[in-house]
Every structure is written in C-alpha cells, then in structure tokens.
Amino acid sequence: MKSIRMAAAPALIVVGALALAGCTSSEPEGEAADPGSLTVWIMGDSSENFDALVAPFEEESGVDVETVAVPWDAIDQKFTTAVASGEGPDVLQIGVSKLRTFADSGALLELGADTVADYPNLAAGNFLDGVAGEATAIGGKVVSLPWVSDTRVLFTRTDILAEAGIDAPPATWDELRADAKTLAGRGDGQYGYYIPQWDSALPVVMTWDQGGEIVDADGMIDFDTPEFQQAVDLYTGLYADGSVPTNSDFDQTQGFVSGAAPMLVSGPYLAGAIADAAPELEGKWTVSTLPTAAAGTSLLAGSNLGVWGSTKNEEGALKLLDFLSAPETQVSWFASDGQLPTVKAALSDPALAGDPLVEVYSQQLADARLLPLVPNWDGETGKALLDALNSIVLTGADRDQTLDALFQTTSGTSVN
C-alpha cells in the first residue's frame, strides 16, 4: 500500500503542474496578432452574414477578418473588460446610445479629417446628416463612423383597423389615441396599441413631436417643459384609456400577429420578424411614418463603427471601414441582414428604392434625430425617465411628485 501511495504523490504533482501549464499557455488574442488580421465585434445575430459580407474584402486586400458575435446584453461587460485589460478588438460596432459611454473611456481611436483623408468613402458628406461628422462627435472629436441606421415607424394591421371602421393608419397622435381606444373596445385581452416598458426613446419622440426639446440651450437635460408634460399626458392617457397592455412580458411580434396589439411603433427589424412569423398576413399590415402633432420627428438610432485606440492594424481597420462604407456594400448588407444603410447613395440605390417599406423608412429617416449624447442614456438618464413614467402608469405613483423627482435627478446631466 505504502509503495502505491509513494508513487501516487509525484504523479499527482506532475498532473497538477501540467494542468497549470495548460491553463497559462493559451495566450490572449491581441498579443501576437499579425499585421494582416482584424478582430471585429459585431452585435446580435448578424455575425454570420457579416462573414459573408467581408469575404470579397478579405480576398482583395489579404486581410484576415475574424468576426466575434457579441449579444446586445453583453456589450457593456465585454467593453469594460476590454478597457480594463487594455486588449480589445480592432474594429467594433457601437450602438449610438452607447457611443458617449464608449468614447468617454478613451479607448477609441480618433478618426479626424487627416486620418480618413485617404479613404474617399469615409468623407462625412456621404452619410446621413443626422449621424455624419459632428453629429456623433464627442467632445469635439470624431471617434466613430456611421454604419447602419435605424428608425421608428408606425406598424398597423389594416385588416383589423378596417373591421373597426378605421380606413387608414392614424396621421396624428390624437387620432392614434382615439383609434387605440376604439380598438381596445373589441374585447377582453384586446388592445389598441403597445407601449414597450423598456423603450426610453418613445416618450422623447413624443416630446419632439409636440414641438419640444429635452436638451436646453446650454446642453443640459431639461424635462421640465410644457411639451414634455403634453407627451406625458399622451403616454399616461393611453394607459388610462385601457388601450395598452400593462404586463411587462407582452410579446410585440406575437401581439401584432394575433391582433392583440394592432398598432405598434417599432423599427424595421419588426417587419422582418412579422414576415417570418406570419407570412400569411402579407397585405394585411402596413408601415407608415409616425403620427404627427407639431412635428413628425422620429428616432434616429443605429450603429456606428469604431476603431480600437491601441489596435495593431490601423491601416487594415481603416480599409475595412472604407469597404463597409461603400454604397454597394451597404446595399448588399441591407439585402442580407435587413439593416438600413447610412450612406445616402445607398439609400437612393434602385435596389432599395423599389421596396415600398424602404420608401417609408427613407422618408422617416429624413426627419429623425439622435437621442442626446449624455454620458449614460441607457443606464441612467433613460432609465430614470422610464422608471418615472412606469411608476406613474403601473403603480399609480403621484404624477407631479414623480416628475419633480425626475427633473431633479436628470437636470445635472450634460451632453458636453
């Protein structure tokens, strides 16, 4: 017995040492990257389509592009880890609502006029005015370039509206509220509209449409305006009328398909989701520009592309950005992944202009604005706005008190 035990101890130590060596031998990705490769972070499910999109670029330039798929939920943590460790990708997709947070970390490469001068596709004039150049500059510095755009439009089930005696999608917010009330009267479990409880952009869009602003002349957030009060009236009014569901887990697509929520404000991705989920509904639903009040401004969202500050392949990264900003690439990206271009030439391309849905999107994009580029819209300002509104409509909190608390919490936030 003793001899077995004597032999076992050194064997265990050797195994342990090998295990530890195995743990440390995997080197971090960025350390020994050869100059001819790029690591690109792409959000959501688009990474496979992205691989196909950049295949011609890889052949032509010899740069090897490695796509890393990052779920939207995980980007904050992944970015924080990359900043803390100093090792990030070479190119990354940045949702515009996160642009300020990422830019503030100092981890992005500045893409000034001289840096992009050699790349004709990257000139600011090529892109939509709402996102080009200064529009997405943080602290006066451009650290990202536009890639794909997103907006919000009105989806309506024309067949259900016709049954209720409504001939066309509502053209004004007041009409929408009245129509929603009519549709909610169809019965139990039937609503007229759906307000996503996580959508912090909707009350802002409502404020803009009342002709108001949420950023004052000094660049500070200011919700304490009469137009915002009108927007809150509309938001709380829809709940008070019983026109919208109050549960937080209402499924938007299923609701639209089943008819429980025949009107929705959402983005182009929903059109794809509806077509996939219910192809038999073709012809029974339509997309139109947002209802208006004093204006019909919608949200301009989407993603930009940034280059990591300490990238080892700056030239390759800029070449890739140049390729992705070419009108042909933007058109084929829309064809394969359904994300709208930001390059003006791509939006007016015949391949896109023929699509009736894209016509509505383009029309809306011409009157769309970015959310204010505050330090942390998703985690702080937007969250405070949502919490205030949701506590009024879902838990019956006192409106004036809650709004006053919101004004106090957010008034110190600046876009500068």
Binding site: T101, D249, F250, D378, G379
Partner: protein, 292 residues
Amino acid sequence: MKTRLTGYAFITPAMLLLITFGVLPIAVAMVVSLTDMNLAGLGDWSRIRFIGADNYTALFADRAFWQAMGNTALFAVVGVPAVVGLSLLIALGLNSSQGRFFRALRSFYFVPAITAIVAVALVWGYLFNTQFGLFNHLLSLVGLPPVPWLSDPVVVKFSVVWVAVWRGIGLNVIILLAALQGVPKEYLEAASIDGASRARQTFSIVLPLLRFALFFVTITTIIAWLQFFDEPFVLTKGGPLGASTSISLFLYQKGFSASQFGYASAGSVVLFVIIAVVTVVQLRARRADVDY
C-alpha cells in the same frame, strides 16, 4: 517537523488560489469603494478621485438599494426553508428504496441543477408569459383570470423564487441522500424492534444523525440565496421597477450597466459584511459536534 511541512506544502497551492481569487478581490473592492471610479477612470487611472465614505452615504440613502435589500431578505426567508425542507423530503423519499426506478429518479431531480440557466429562463419565461404562456392558458381552461406572473410586483418575487427553488433542490438532494446512506442500519433496526414507527425513527434517529449535513446544506444555501442573481437577471432583469431586483443584481446593474464601479464596490463590501456576519452567527449558534 517534516509532517507539518508536508501539510503546508499540500495546502499552499489551494491557499494561494483562494487568496488571489477570493481575498485579494475583496481587498481591491474595499479600496475602490472609497473612490469614484467609473468607465472613464478605468481607462485612465489619473481620472479616479478619492472620495472617502461618500459612496456609502449615497448607498444608504438610495431607495433602490433598500428595495433590493428587502427583496433579498424576502428571497432568503422564503427560499432557504423551501429548498432545505423540500430537499430533505425528497431525499428521505428517494432513500426509501434502492430500486432502479428510484435511482433513475435521483438523476431526474438533479437535472434542473445542471441545466444552463439561460435555457431554463427561456422556457420558464414562456410558461409564465401573461398573454401566451402555458400557466395562464391552463388557468383559463378552468375559468380563472390570468395571473401576471412576471409583471405584478408581488407575484414576480414568488415566481422568481419558485424557479430558483426548482433549480436549487437538485444538489442538496444529492448531499442529503449521501448523508442518509451513512446512517447505520443497526440503529433503525434496534428502534423498530423496540416498537418505534417509521415517523418516530425518522425524527428521533435519522434527523439528528443528519445534523452536520443539514448544517452544511443550510449554510451554503443561505450564502447562495443572499447572492441570488441568476433567476431575476434572466427572467425579469430586476422585475417591474425593481420588484425582483436582488442585491447582487442591483450591484451588477450599477457596476456594469451604469459603470459606477466605486458605488457598486461599496455595495459589494456591505454585502460581504452581511454574509460574513450571518455565517459567523450560524457557526457560533451550532452546538458542539457530537460524534455518534
């Protein structure tokens, strides 16, 4: 001398790992909690300012912090007895026979514990869905109104606890079952000869012999439930207006979503102190271990 050195040699690697990955992060968190570190500070250390106990004063004045504390206390008070009690009952039941069916049942109870939480949350999310979920559909079949499982501020706490209890039973059943099989059969035979019923045997002989295993299961379950995170994170992301936010989820949201590392570190130090106090109280309250 030689024996003592050998002992130290064996525990040193584990101790080094424990210190590096257990003690050092806590020390770092204590230091960071005295600063205003955020994402900008993480990228450039010169932007970090030392602000003393400001994070702690802000934390104790934060309504959301107290809501998360209250939720966590409720989760622990409801969840821990549920997990320990149900695990014990199931272990006692599974121990009553060595047949193949019972052995298969053991794996059956263990499966929820090893299933990926995201898959679990996806399925339970669909089951709980107010409009299209199975539970409300079954309720409608018997004429009852739909229950807002994940939308009502009170019901959501119990929905989330239930999923966590379902997941947590597995491991504890295995531990208690192993302990049950260590109960000497002679004691039970002697008791039945003396005329003790099955229930009497269980209460007076089996349970006292299980004290150490029960103590271990209770401590680990309490520590785990005070750090309750997975289920609220994937099912409700903190629930309607923070109704199902546990303290761990609150710290995660503050630290990673809002990038307020200093503030979140202060919270994590507070949580560490609470768990340490609870554990020490339990260790002291336990009577001296009697060897049967």
